[in-house]
């Protein structure tokens, strides 16, 4: 084996004695060469979360046998895990409406190698971002939506995800509310950016709400999509001080950077398998 394969193992289970010992011992016995480890034991839910990166330079068994051993280990520990060859980066579809600042950020970071994802399509209910997507060599799908065609349009998105084998749908200022059904089908696989520091200012026009309330700090929140609007598990939040001189327009403009930063950060750590769901919350294993 000349060039080692790199793997990412993320797992969680009830926090019983010896959990970490058993897993790390198993990895050790099979010759996994660990390069990164991160754990968290949640005292509230008594759940153990762990992310271990390793390579197979010294692996004493085949990949298949390794997974079998992992399965044997997982069952008695009631452990759920995700093991991935680091080279198999997630396939991502980005949904967008008219504002392109989050899309630009994702495409630029992806192109420059910062985001370990593969952007396989951009979908939009408008055509505004078509040439931008195309310039980056990404297929663009114009999927207009009306009250009558909502179910049909969502089916098109799902079909596209299946066809492209997409692992993740990123709502990069996509101004449509997903149906409960779609939310459930994409549980843990759809990330949205909301332009406020949630739970403040859910719903429409959050900067207008923030201006109305007179807050001294604005923010943006990247979160997993759930059927409860803007209530999904929070992955990342960015905030910034403002003052009374900020017009709504200035808040919107300054907010663009907060949104792009929070969203691309959330997508990166999701793609690196650093985000674990812990009920309605997230554990970020850095």
């Amino acid at each position: 084996m000349n060039t080692p394969n790199h793997y990412i193992l993320t797992w969680q289970c009830p926090d019983n004695t010896g959990v970490l010992a058993k897993v790390s011992q198993s990895l050790f016995e099979h010759g996994a060469f660990i390069t990164e480890t991160s754990q968290y034991s949640d005292p509230y839910t008594e759940t153990f979360f762990s992310r271990i990166a390793f390579d197979d330079r010294n692996l004493t068994v085949s990949a298949g046998e390794f997974i079998e051993a992992l399965d044997d280990l997982a069952k008695p520990l009631t452990m759920s895990y995700k093991l991935r060859n680091k080279a198999d980066i997630p396939k991502v579809i980005i949904a967008v409406s008219k504002d392109d600042h989050c899309l630009v950020s994702l495409l630029t970071k992806w192109k420059s190698g910062v985001l370990p994802i593969n952007i396989v399509a951009v979908v939009s209910n408008h055509q505004t971002c078509q040439s931008l997507a195309n310039w980056h060599g990404v297929p663009f799908h114009h999927l207009p939506i009306t009250a009558d065609t909502k179910a049909q349009q969502e089916t098109q998105i799902l079909t596209l995800m299946k066809e492209t084998k997409a692992d993740l749908l990123v709502l990069a200022r996509y101004m449509q509310i997903l149906s409960d059904d779609l939310c459930q089908q994409l549980a843990g696989r759809a990330i949205n950016i909301h332009h406020s520091f949630l739970p403040s200012f859910k719903g429409a026009r959050p900067y207008h709400q923030a201006h109305e309330r007179g807050v001294k700090v604005i923010g943006a929140t990247a979160h997993y999509v759930t059927a409860n609007l803007d209530e999904g598990p929070i992955i990342a939040q960015e905030v910034k001080p403002i003052n009374h001189t900020f017009t709504i327009e200035q808040m919107v403009h300054m907010g663009h950077d907060l949104e792009a930063t929070a969203l691309s950060h959330a997508v990166r750590i999701h793609a690196e398998q650093r985000v674990c769901l812990n009920g309605d919350k997230t554990v970020i294993l850095t």
Copy 2:
């Protein structure tokens, strides 16, 4: 006149043409020596806000005549103003329950000369902070409260404010909700610290709410007290990133610093007459 008197003039009025010209011209004509000016013209409410600090080293009229001229100017401009000799620092009463971190911060900053206020009393529904207040030489009033005695206790607070000629009531983690009546009587003269970045997590146990929601940023908000709980005009907000490893206790502890910082900042800028009410919001003239 050997040592000049310093004055702070804060005023607001409908934003008509020439407002700034008329006021600054009037100050100039009477020989006011301006040391600080700050203005804001709110395009939403079409209101003009201004704070001008000046001294009387070159004043060509008496203080009384100066005020007369100001009154003459104010009427046609529908201008409301507050003129104060800078040396007449506001008298402040601090209300507190058991937690002393905000009280400590205010007393310490006051003693070291950072806060241009005169703390004339500490009132509390508990006795926990008595020795702290006394050590700083501040009279402590134990005003216990029950459902039955609430009206009476609030009367005691108001009486104390009158007796001490207090200009401001600071709720420094005072865990009682003021009655609507008291809120109205103290409109613009009572500042509260709430331990969340409002409007998120109003009401009781905001850190517990924040933990439950899984936010990645916590905060504290200093605001004027109004009859709508935690809905008053925001003066200052402090925020800080957290992560999933923070227990509720750690959030509480880290929050102490945010609360003390936001509250003492709000009290300072209020005392320096830098805070103007603009409907349900504030304009901070720095």
Copy 3:
């Protein structure tokens, strides 16, 4: 006059009595309709800075006469001023090397109308960003540079600025050090982004320096270019907490957003004539 012209007047002078009164009185007398005012009186340098936005809907004189009156006012006050029709937005040339994140940010914000500038050219010592500039419809000039051709290349930049009547050169991660001579010719007209919170980590590879030092916060600084490397007046700084797990690469990646945010903010407020030079420092009139 159907649609009013909007003007921005930014001025500074020694802080003598009546300065604000005289200027606002003059504007008032000539019928200037003021929409924004911001002042600052620096107690250290005893200089008065002011920015006034107004329109000519009620102007009682011609624009030419208005400027004459301003000149008459300026001389006795030793006042320097810049008056601009708001519609005459500054022409900007962006210099870039290989990294495109700051260029992308400026082009995207410009295209979406957030930045009140006119980007007339992109210059680069590499060809990496050519297609990006062209896609945005901006002329791209490849100006390679060697030790031998540095003077000649800088002349090409200056010539281009003259030909395009550019008001501002923005160094958007342009990895060449400008000669002292060019710095002086562009004093107050060239903005650079440095990828550290200056004055920490001047010069080459600041993220490597930051990693070496083990700081817990990284940053980016937008500043005017001067002959003293990374010592020019600071316009804007962005910072962000990090921890020991950040590799240099992660710091570089996270830094991209800080740099783009700080630079585009600096360019915006410069273009809005909100930045005044105060010796080696800046006054930002918001």
Copy 4:
């Protein structure tokens, strides 16, 4: 055993295969009930850092035998470790000059149970803080210092540390520079607060330096003391945006909160054995 004893084990060693497995296996075999684990593998120094909190409710051996097993494990791994009963909280001496804001913060947090330390003495070259220390029931030692008596005064501090069995010296705005010799004797056992975001503005009057440079962000840095002034490993940094209107005095006042926050945070995580030295840097195991 009715109430379990809680232990904190912090260790580091060269990052060889199986390190985590061996240690966690050993803990598991001896019945340690793990409640917190945090690891970091530094790819630059190839060092493994770990902090494990556990209790002895299921421990199958005596504490003495457990330590023997740990010693046996440590040697072949070239591992250094610190094992502490959590109840044996560190004894701390605080050194202070005239400014009391950091001392107040430490004493208040300590009294309210936030800081797991035992403050055994306050030493000062002035008498300003005597009554404050005494009010908190902490012995105060006035140790004046002159150029001639510096060596002798430092000996007094060291003697006091020995007599009180102090583990940590906290310089809470102590305005004396420790001798190289004392720095070396207290390596890793002395924490200083510097009132700038290091490495900017080392040495005297950092807020004056910051004002002179015109930075848009100020900060405070808590770090271990080393013989190179203000060059020691950084534990925590706090920063805050400012603008041109801030006078030096306002920067000083606002800085007080940054300093107190950074220092008390650093003392807390040091006391919880979360801070590891990694050359000239720190690893914080949260």
